[in-house]
């Protein structure tokens, strides 16, 4: 168990720089999730930490030890791959034992350790099976067990759940989280699924095009997105962004309504974007923000998503699941001023 630090990490393939100075501190026992669209550099970052790729510049520290020039095996890490990467010709037990071969532990201790890990992952009776006889979830567990058995300083997970079906994914998500709570090790988890990121992480790192966009707890990135990218990326359905312009202290939405929001800083130009999450935007006349005609209803049970055609384009709002408006109704949508996010239209940075 150890902390992990990245200092202005860059990575280039030839003349193309794909990571532009990643800096991050992960404290001991923290569960950090890297999330972002494909091609954002999150997997590359993970591979740099693992030592599978060479860093172009910058420093990687694991447990206050610089590991830049160390081989993967010397870094005291364990990695779980997207495709599980189970050795197909070995039994589950041998797969798990593979990582222990090089350690100088006595044989009896190794055996004990394997049984212990198998017990934690609930696969004691699977130990003699071949990987081809396992289901997707079981293979996933073997991969995790193989990582756990070495008791590494840092666990690296590279989109380990993306090959599982939706139900199993939810279940494994929970298992990994429980595992983290029990074992308490440092985990770096890469995913493109923002739900996974939100549910599992102590802290989320949102990346785009080789830059970190925001680092924060799930609640922070959800409620205080640093820019429009984070605002759109986190949360499903994603945040509505309404074009508006500043007029003095007031913000005028396209369509005429004016809202008052306290800004921390002033935008570079006159144009801003007002962001409001669908679950904060309700049919309500108290704090009206925008109005329009309902075009589509999506009943989800507890609530119903309503698609509303407004002067600022189509936006999504939420209505009560029991008595939603009907298609064709004109609704006034309102949100409390504390739920409005204002972004600079040019830079995309948050102003609230």
């Amino acid at each position: 168990m150890a902390n992990l630090a990245l200092r202005s990490l860059t990575k280039s393939y030839g003349s193309t720089e794909v990571l532009h100075g990643i800096s991050l501190d992960v404290s001991d026992g923290e569960f950090v999730v890297f999330v972002g669209p494909s091609g954002c550099g999150k997997s590359t970052t993970l591979r740099l930490i693992a030592g599978l790729e060479e860093t172009t510049s910058g420093i990687i520290e694991i447990g206050d030890r610089e590991v830049n020039n160390l081989e993967p095996k010397e870094r005291d890490i364990a990695m779980v791959f997207q495709n599980y990467a189970i050795y197909p010709h070995m039994s589950v037990k041998k797969n798990i034992a593979f990582g222990l071969r090089s350690s100088k532990m006595p044989k009896a201790d190794k055996e004990k350790r394997i049984q212990e890990v198998a017990g934690i992952l609930d696969m004691t009776e699977l130990l003699d099976r071949k990987p081809s006889q396992l289901s997707g979830g079981q293979r996933q567990r073997v991969a995790i067990g193989r990582a756990m058995v070495r008791d590494p300083a840092v666990f690296l997970f590279d989109e380990p759940l993306s090959n599982l079906d939706a139900q199993l994914r939810t279940q494994m998500r929970l298992e990994i989280k429980r595992l983290h709570q029990r074992v308490g090790s440092t985990i770096i988890f890469v995913t493109h699924d923002q739900v996974e990121a939100m549910t599992m992480a102590d802290r989320i790192v949102i990346m785009k095009d080789g830059h970190i966009q925001q680092v924060g707890t799930p609640s922070e990135v959800y409620h205080k997105p640093a820019n429009t990218f984070v605002a759109r990326f986190i949360g499903a359905p994603s945040m509505n962004l309404l074009p508006a312009s500043m007029s003095g202290e007031m913000i005028c939405l396209t369509g005429g309504r004016q809202v008052e929001v306290t800004l921390k800083e002033l935008p570079s130009g006159k144009d801003v974007l007002v962001g409001v999450r669908p679950d904060d935007l309700l049919p309500d006349d108290v704090n009206p923000v925008i109005s329009g005609k309902v075009t589509v209803l999506e009943p989800l049970g507890p609530e119903t998503l309503i698609y509303v055609e407004t002067a600022s384009g189509e936006i999504i709002a939420e209505a009560d699941g029991r008595s939603p408006p009907r298609v064709g109704d004109t609704v006034n949508l309102g949100a409390g001023p504390e739920h409005l996010h204002v972004f600079d239209a040019k830079t995309g940075e948050a102003l609230t």
Binding site: A85, I86, Y87, P88, F98, G99
Partner: protein, 386 residues
């Protein structure tokens, strides 16, 4: 919607016909050789091998007993005996169906009838079991009378050819020594290139070093060099450095000629192994050598096996390389292919010997192929990645 997966292509029948054709093309000559190797010279010259499994009707010319066997009874000379078991007869299992006493009418009489010779003085009766009774007014000739017997002979097989080829003392026909010589050439000439190629293929597939792409290109370039180009220079080299003609020389030659394809095949297979598995092994603390022996080699088994089969077959069937690098004037290191060539010269008319020799020489490749063919088909990767 004609192209949805699972619908049968219209060319399925063409595939089936081609497969059937190829199977027949391979099966019939092989079977023919096998059957012919169990037949005698006479059988091979009188009927095709496909008739060997069934009883055949054949007409043979025999002779009754002569003066020596004749007994006088009631003023007639009588000769009795059995055509089937007497000298030259087809044996007890045969069943006579007709006989004749003149070369113009060889099947004129039914069994049990009495034939009268043209001069009217002689008669011949043949019973079902081949027993005959010949009577003559005059004393029969010393050599007896001609009889043409048509009989159905059961299928017969003989192991004599194999005795000749495998156990006979005479050096010319005996293939046993050549068989072991061929084995001595083939087994190392299969193992050595595989071992070298496996290491090379791993390095070319998974290790980063400068000039790797160039080396791969070189291997591909070597694939298209005909081996005849290298025969004379290589032999001169062997003689020059003192290897001379012998097993070491032929192993080295086969290794050199087999390596480009071996490296190419194995590298292509290894490069297709999942990167994750190898990276995971690296993270798990394995060295390159451990990754090679514990992960890559077991997973590459199908490719290793298929190359082993190829290399084994063509070193087994090789004549050219053996002639150039191995067989010297003493002939003590002759291989089977060479021995068969020599047999063609010395026993050109004895098809049964040639067929047996050929079958002895293809028997090992057949065994190897049937034993290993499942490795050609089986994918060992099932279950490793989703």
């Amino acid at each position: 919607m004609d192209n949805i997966a699972g619908s049968k292509s219209g060319l399925t029948w063409a595939v089936h016909i081609s497969v059937a054709f190829l199977v027949a093309l391979w099966l019939f000559p092989t079977l023919g050789l096998l059957v012919s190797s169990f037949r005698t010279t006479d059988q091979i010259s009188s009927s095709g091998w496909w008739k060997a499994m069934f009883p055949t009707e054949q007409t043979i010319q025999l002779r009754t007993g002569g003066t020596a066997e004749a007994v006088q009874q009631d003023g007639l000379y009588v000769v009795e005996g059995n055509l089937l078991t007497d000298e030259g007869g087809p044996g007890m299992g045969s069943k006579p169906v007709a006989f004749g006493v003149s070369s113009r009418e060889i099947g004129a009489y039914e069994i049990g009838e009495t034939a009268v010779y043209s001069d009217g003085d002689e008669t011949l009766t043949i019973a079902e079991d081949g027993a005959y009774r010949y009577t003559s007014v005059e004393e029969p000739g010393r050599r007896g009378q001609r009889v043409f017997l048509t009989a159905v002979t059961p299928a017969q097989a003989t192991l004599d050819n194999y005795k000749t080829i495998l156990f006979s003392g005479s050096g010319q026909d005996n293939m046993a020594k050549a068989f072991f010589n061929t084995l001595t050439v083939t087994v190392p000439a299969t193992i050595i290139p595989i071992v070298i190629a496996a290491f090379a293929a791993y390095a070319l597939a998974w290790m980063d070093f400068p000039g790797r792409a160039l080396l791969i290109a070189l291997v591909v370039a070597l694939l298209v060099v005909p081996l005849q180009l290298a025969l004379i220079p290589l032999l001169r080299l062997h003689l020059g450095i003192g290897i001379g003609k012998g097993y070491l020389g032929v192993w080295l030659a086969h290794t050199a000629f087999g390596l480009p394809l071996a490296i190419y095949l194995l590298r292509n297979y290894m490069v297709g192994l999942p990167r994750d598995i190898i990276e995971n092994a690296k993270v798990d603390g394995a060295t390159d050598f451990q990754i090679f022996t514990k992960i890559i080699l077991p997973l590459s088994f199908p490719a290793l096996a298929s190359f082993a089969i190829f290399q084994f077959l063509w070193t087994w069937n090789d004549l050219l390389v053996a002639k150039v690098f191995l067989i010297d004037a003493t002939g003590s290191t002759t291989v089977m292919t060479n021995q068969i060539v020599e047999l063609l010269g010395t026993r050109g008319g004895n098809w049964e010997i040639l067929a047996t020799a050929a079958f002895v020489s293809i028997s090992v490749p057949l065994v190897v192929f049937f034993a290993m063919q499942r490795y050609l088909v089986r994918g060992l990767l099932a279950g490793s990645v989703k």
